[in-house]
Amino acid sequence: MADLKSQIIAQLNLQEVKPEDIGNDQPLFKEGLGLDSIDALELIVLLQQHYNIRIANPEQGPEIFHSVRSMAEYITAHQKQQG
């Protein structure tokens, strides 16, 4: 998950945040890391660029992007599906 945190920081240009500042289960939006709607779009781009994952159903977004852990689990599950 450390790599994913670094990718999130780079993708969202969070220059004042370090990977260790982001808790695995810390909410990424609102009261957590404080990301906004544009950041959500950038996270979708991150999945596409780094993991070749396209989110087919936008309604999955809040679940997938709840935390670093939920993102990592989604990526892992998607990679297993790809075989």
């Binding site: 969202l12 004042e16 950038e42 781009v45």
Partner: protein, 209 residues
């Protein structure tokens, strides 16, 4: 027609790695520092504690930084948020960011860049930072046009649409940059110069507060 009764109560000029506030050099970076590093260093020097700064495009960062310096010395808190207007202008609109965004389109378009492909976004960033809710406008002109911005701002002040107005020039293109902001108030402030074209030109030229 303007009645001309407004005053310039503060200014900030940024060019050539130097930051002037009310005509006085407040800070300078190492000559030759590239724009992104200059903006980051200026942010660290004058502000900090505003992470959204790093997500802005160069135009918004420059305008935001100039407003930050300008308003640290201006008595903007004396005005209601809905009575503070912002009227800015530049030559290259958002073309610098437009080109960066266009380059991402070849791969995956960047949402974070797309939201800055309008020049007036810099006004929004300043408003968010300071809570302003007044009138605003952004003009694109061939060069610094003191009369255009002054006349529009004066109209806002004369018609009671605003009691104060942040005015000026914020230009970024291909690494070149220049900002010249000034704060105009309808109320009389002792010793403050009149809000005239001549005085605005002096600020831009660096010859007056």
């Amino acid at each position: 027609m303007s009645n001309g009764t407004a005053y310039i109560t503060g200014s900030c000029v940024i060019r050539q790695h130097q930051v002037y506030n009310n005509g006085v050099l407040r800070w300078q970076d190492t000559p030759g520092t590239a724009l992104p590093e200059f903006l980051r260093n200026g942010y660290d020097h004058f502000s900090g504690q505003y992470p959204k700064f790093h997500k802005m495009d160069h135009l918004s960062r420059l305008g935001w930084l100039a407003a930050e310096v300008l308003l640290q010395a201006a008595e903007v808190e004396d005005h209601l948020p809905g009575q503070v207007a912002i009227v800015l202008s530049n030559r290259s609109t958002s073309l610098d960011t437009d080109a960066r965004y266009y380059n991402t389109v070849k791969d995956i378009p960047s949402p974070a860049l797309f939201v800055y492909t309008l020049p007036n976004i810099v006004i929004g960033e300043i408003c968010i930072r300071h809570g302003f809710k007044g009138e605003h406008a952004f003009f694109t002109t061939e060069g610094f046009d003191a009369e255009l911005v002054r006349s529009y701002a004066q109209l806002l002040l004369d018609t009671n649409a605003a009691t104060a107005c942040i005015c000026g020039w914020v230009e970024v293109m291909d690494g070149a940059y220049e900002a010249a902001l000034y704060f105009a108030e309808r109320r009389e402030v002792s010793g403050a110069p009149l809000f005239t074209v001549e005085n605005v030109k002096k600020i831009y030229a660096g010859n007056m507060r």
